[in-house]
């Protein structure tokens, strides 16, 4: 018998963190403008230590003002979406659940847009709108997905697809009828786009939200393992199922909302990263949650790097990259059946 040990947990997270660091360095190096790695390391070291002498070259402006914040944003978004996906998969006991597939991303997007329309001057309220949209959508999908009191896989996915289409239609309607508004940038954002920098206030909200959300979900990690065996069994083993479900739904919706309000609806990350981590490291949520967070960060950093270099200087939205890679993998998983 080889249950999860603290040592294995830390080593796996450490390994993934190292891989992430490598990806970050790679992402800093690559781009429309070439950067030398040695200068980069020197400057990164200076920043980490805390020295902030003005570095006069353009390349450092590129690296520190454009690329690094974008990469760090990508890490936050990737981690949020992956953990949200892993959580939905546990709650709904369905490996094909993720914020995008369930329509939660679309709900968050609609919430953001409505917030932008109703209170354009308060940009910081956009995540709140996104959160309300996300919660409303997951509640709707949950109730749509119930059949005879139990959650049914196919009904649930159908509910998600229907919600996503419906919400997208509303978004399109709003965008075409609101003539005077400058919602053109919305199209990019809807596809999932990391190229527009985020205000400092929103960054704080994102970071705090990520740690709070992942932390809250992690406190229920052991309970989630039991929930996977079935709700009744979990109740009989002393799990407060109602509380766990509430905490995890709200936290996962929060994580989705924050990611969407920062970078739009990036798809397939929440679906495929937990799945890959499960294949590599097993289904134990005490390991899966941190592994998914780190794995999601890695995937988004790599996808975003690809998006900005593949047809440089033109940039593809990062959501397009994840969809192009993710959709075929998703279909493959569907056909292979859930393991």
């Amino acid at each position: 018998m080889r249950p999860l040990t603290l040592k294995r947990l830390l080593w796996t997270c450490g390994l993934l963190a190292v891989v992430l660091l490598g990806c970050v360095v790679l992402a800093l190096k690559l781009g429309a403008v070439p950067i030398s790695v040695t200068d980069l390391m020197w400057d990164l070291g200076r920043v980490a230590v805390g020295g902030s002498d003005p570095l006069p070259s353009e390349y450092s402006m590129i690296v520190f003002d454009l690329r690094l914040p974008r990469i760090l944003l990508g890490i936050l978004v990737g981690a949020s979406l992956s953990v949200a996906g892993a959580s939905f998969q546990a709650l709904l006991r369905n490996p094909l659940a993720d914020p995008f597939v369930l329509g939660v991303s679309s709900g968050a997007a609609l919430g953001s847009i409505l917030a932008m329309i109703v209170v354009p001057q308060l940009a910081l309220l956009t995540p709140l709108g996104a959160f309300l949209g996300a919660i409303a959508t997951i509640a709707a999908v949950y109730f749509l997905g119930r059949r005879e009191g139990q959650l049914d896989s196919s009904t649930l996915l159908l509910g998600g697809i229907i919600s996503a289409s419906f919400l997208s239609a509303i978004i399109m309607f709003l965008m075409t009828t609101l003539a005077g508004r400058d919602l053109r940038g919305m199209v990019f954002w809807l596809m999932g786009d990391l190229s527009t920098p985020v205000s400092a206030g929103l960054r704080w909200i994102l970071t705090v939200g990520l740690f709070a959300g992942v932390g809250a979900i992690y406190t229920t990690a052991a309970d989630l393992n039991l929930l996977l065996s079935g709700e009744r069994e979990a109740i009989h083993l002393g799990v407060d199922v109602t509380r766990v479900k509430l905490v995890v739904y709200v936290s996962a919706s929060l994580l989705t909302a924050l990611a969407v309000s920062a970078s739009g609806a990036i798809g397939y990350v929440g679906l495929l990263v937990p799945h890959a981590m499960r294949l590599l490291f097993g289904s134990d949520y005490r390991l899966l949650i941190p592994a998914s967070a780190l794995g999601g960060a890695i995937v988004i950093v790599l996808a975003d790097t690809l998006a900005r270099t593949i047809v440089a200087p033109t940039e593809l939205p990062v959501g397009a990259m994840t969809a192009m890679a993710g959709a075929p993998v998703f279909i493959y998983l569907l056909r292979r059946g859930t393991r």
Binding site: R2, A48, V49, L68, L72, R184, F188, R308
Partner: protein, 355 residues
């Protein structure tokens, strides 16, 4: 009965080393995170004019302008490199004679030919910010109707001055020429150019005084049918050519219902195109389509194809206005002045009005 080999307690020694490494990694990560959160860019916020230290210090390092959307922009006294993010702005820069200072433009900047040879920074909607920065711009030019607000904000956020134009009328376009002249310190070229454009428009007004405005449909795209709103510069250009768009709406690029156009029955259909030949094919194809074939203008052949310069708020637009005016009100141009013809640079094959 075997116990698990890898027990947590059995590796206390390596656990300590482990913890130290964890602390170092954590500390590095936290400092990076705080840096990210506080958003302190390593560069100073406003770019200091380079190598002006030797010069007399009476001239200020930079001047403050207010751009056409009301933003406060600090522009260095010496503008070495300019990056244009819209085709019409590129044209204006060339017209002001500052082509050598233009360090980069967009993929779509195709007029004049030299513009397409300049380094490109991507499309107007999603230019590559890194590419822009690598060109070391002292000033970036943008326009509200094509560029995204997020792009302008992003560039301003990292300390690069961006001047945004927003012309909604032909007069505003001429004013933009003057503004850009001031900003680029090219007033010597801007003033005469603006004067000439205004003179030509005034001349046109005189010639067309007393004629009734023609009711036209300006076709931006035929499938789906997209026309122009009343507040666009194209609508204003039409007015200078004594034409009135039958589509009257506040939306900039309205999708119009063809049935509504049939009801309104415009006198002329106006197309703008770079290649007259292709447009002719398109029009031929439309002749037989339902809806289109019910338009009097289509049946009678009252179709005007003008230069696509009408789509860009740049000096060339006036050429297109004159072209359109001639096509719609040829009577007013009976006595053609050679000066007008030369300045307008009309080529008759562009104007296909088969009656």
């Amino acid at each position: 009965m075997k116990f698990n080999q890898a027990m947590p307690g059995a590796h206390a020694g390596s656990g300590k080393k482990f913890r130290k490494l964890r602390v170092v990694v954590l500390r590095a990560g936290m400092s990076l995170l705080f840096w990210f959160l506080c958003g302190a860019p390593v560069m100073p916020q406003t770019p200091v004019a380079p190598s002006t230290a030797g010069l007399a210090t009476t001239a200020p390092a930079f001047q403050v302008f207010t751009d056409e959307v009301g933003r406060r922009v600090e522009i260095p006294a010496e503008v070495k490199h300019v990056v244009s993010l819209a085709p019409n702005l590129t044209e204006i820069v060339f017209d002001l004679g500052d082509a050598d200072r233009l360090a980069g433009d967009t993929d779509f900047c195709d007029y004049p030919d030299e513009a397409s040879k300049k380094p490109h920074v991507g499309g107007p909607i999603n230019p590559n910010l890194e590419q822009i920065v690598s060109l070391k711009p002292s000033l970036i030019l943008a326009t509200k109707s094509i560029n995204r607000r997020e792009t302008v904000d992003a560039l301003a956020h990292i300390g690069l001055p961006v001047y945004v134009t927003d012309p909604h009328s032909v007069d505003a376009m001429i004013a933009s020429v003057e503004h850009l002249g001031a900003v680029l310190h090219a007033e010597k070229a801007a003033a005469p150019l603006a004067g000439e454009l205004r003179a030509r428009l005034a001349d046109l007004d005189r010639r067309l005084a007393g004629t009734t405005p023609s009711r036209v449909l300006f076709v931006v795209w035929s499938a789906p049918l997209i026309s122009i709103g009343r507040d666009t510069f194209i609508a204003d250009a039409l007015r200078h050519a004594r034409a009135q768009s039958v589509v009257d709406t506040a939306a900039e690029w309205p999708h119009v219902n063809l049935e509504e156009i049939v009801r309104l029955q415009p006198e002329f259909l106006v197309f703008a195109s770079a290649h007259a030949g292709d447009t002719q094919h398109e029009i031929e194809a439309l002749r037989t389509r339902p809806g289109w074939r019910d338009l009097d203008a289509m049946r009678r052949g009252n179709i005007v194809v003008i230069s696509e310069a009408i789509n860009r708020p740049a000096p060339r637009m006036v050429d297109a206005i004159e072209q359109l005016a001639r096509a719609l009100h040829s009577d007013s141009f009976a006595s053609r002045s050679p000066q007008l013809a030369a300045a307008a640079n009309i080529s008759l094959e562009d104007c296909s009005c088969a009656r």
